[in-house]
Symmetry: C2
Subunit: 342 residues, 2 copies
Amino acid sequence: MPVIRVAIAGFGGVGRATANLLLARRNRYRHVYGAEIRLVAVCGSRSGLADANGLEPDRLDAPEPGLSGPDFIEASGADILIEAGPSDFRTGGPGLAYIRSALSAGRDAIVISKGALVHSGPDLRALARSSGAMLKLSGATAAALPTIDLIEHSLKGCEVLEIEGILNATTNYLLDAMMNEGLGFDEALGRAQAGGFAEADPRNDTEGWDTASKLILIANFGLDEGLTMDDLAVEGIQSITEQHVAAWRSQRLVPKLVGSLVRSDGATRATVGVRTYPPSDPLAHVSGKDKAIRITTDAMGETVAIGSGTEPLATAAAALKDLEHILTARAARAIAGSGGDA
Amino acid sequence: MPVIRVAIAGFGGVGRATANLLLARRNRYRHVYGAEIRLVAVCGSRSGLADANGLEPDRLDAPEPGLSGPDFIEASGADILIEAGPSDFRTGGPGLAYIRSALSAGRDAIVISKGALVHSGPDLRALARSSGAMLKLSGATAAALPTIDLIEHSLKGCEVLEIEGILNATTNYLLDAMMNEGLGFDEALGRAQAGGFAEADPRNDTEGWDTASKLILIANFGLDEGLTMDDLAVEGIQSITEQHVAAWRSQRLVPKLVGSLVRSDGATRATVGVRTYPPSDPLAHVSGKDKAIRITTDAMGETVAIGSGTEPLATAAAALKDLEHILTARAARAIAGSGGDA
């Protein structure tokens, strides 16, 4: 049975959940793909573990200091990299070096953190194309919510005219608190931070950058656009006032922070800002940790998807969906490669 | 450029819309798949057209009597059959012979009408497997709404625990009229029939058989189940009374006819009947022609999809999505086949 070696760079909650789910599904991989999947390396920013014979779950609690970095991952002999490190769209974050290293060597990369993809998406895509490696990012766009999947698979053949996405949980939480409990923005934020629903520095979420990052990934990888952050008009929810809230309440409208993209006459316009929905719109009921996307196409009209998986498991499952798509493609390649022997 | 020949059996509104969309997308197929797609035959129950050089849109208005039947389609030299005839799950309908004929000869089949698939799904699947033909059915399960797509692609790797689907437009219309306009079932039905929203014999819709048919297809082709109509407990909306409606209204619940499937402890339980949803549930807002499915999996939680395309275009687009998946698979096969020459 062929062995396929996987390494995970970035070993916080999501990386760890991905490792556990990967190991728990090894029988499935044997059965469905006829392949033995081995986790040969994991690492965080300062420590890691590697074993060419495969790491078992019980060893993952004791990473060894100093085992980290792209060279460490390369030395593990991994065929596929899963990148799950901290995300920074302004620098690309630590993931960028790992992803570059993997793709340059022709190794497939499954990317969970958005930073590197927003920062250097077109470069990484070009690198993957030139080396023949696959680059997948289901976990980066909105965890378990299918986004690029829908465009590439379920709506295949249709022209995408418009996309609107509710892609950020923190702003869902804050807007709900402001609308339903009469809290002001600062008060809602304080409560969210106390409850662990918002970061200490919440601006990436509240000012719309997280939503913008996800929208850029959907556009660039799902629609072959070449957007950068500079192309987007981004507004957050930080300047919403009591007056806004009162007006929306009186009109029975529900506000959401929405990333939207409209294509017409060959041009693409992408924005992030608050939109309001009447209660009859399914998007009005997307709250808390749920995320949603509405895609309008020429031939299939509107398609809405709403996802509500539990983190970090849902994101891990999204990354491992990518793994199965890679395994499927590798199986097709293997058939192609064996054609000469037939 | 390789030529791929398509035939369409069943040439009512959906068959015709599929032909038009197929012909309108020929440039796309050349560009994306490097293939020339030719529509070499179309037929209804009594008349048809065939041309090995390909039919153009202007000829489709004048079918010739007597050109019909599986032998006519086989003689056209089609590589791929699109079946869009009338649906009858009790007999398999006229589509069954066309699909059997195509799959037996190793030709791929894209099926839009449900009848044959509900009647002989496992047989047809086995036939396809033994001949190496592909059998696709996106247009049959709920038009543009992604159902099997979601299970096979977007939720890949996850275990499906539960499915609930709002899959029938006629019952959406009737329940809306009963809830919002105070009409009784018979009164609502009369109005729906007058407006063209219900058939003269509406029982296939109102008694739940259409929903049950779609649920069986999703289960058998998406989850590899082997359900027949006898395995389902099917209740429709025909016995809903004013008392039911009054109770739901007072509780602010919204009724929908739902096909549901629950898998636990190795057993699958499938039912069709009315379920009620609170207004906070996105499914409460699926009405009119919209359709929806909620799929619960072990690792991704709940995923909801809502589709609202315009017929017959949306169903045509669903069938041609299947065509593109077949073209992709054929391209992979061609690479495999050419491996020997490399």
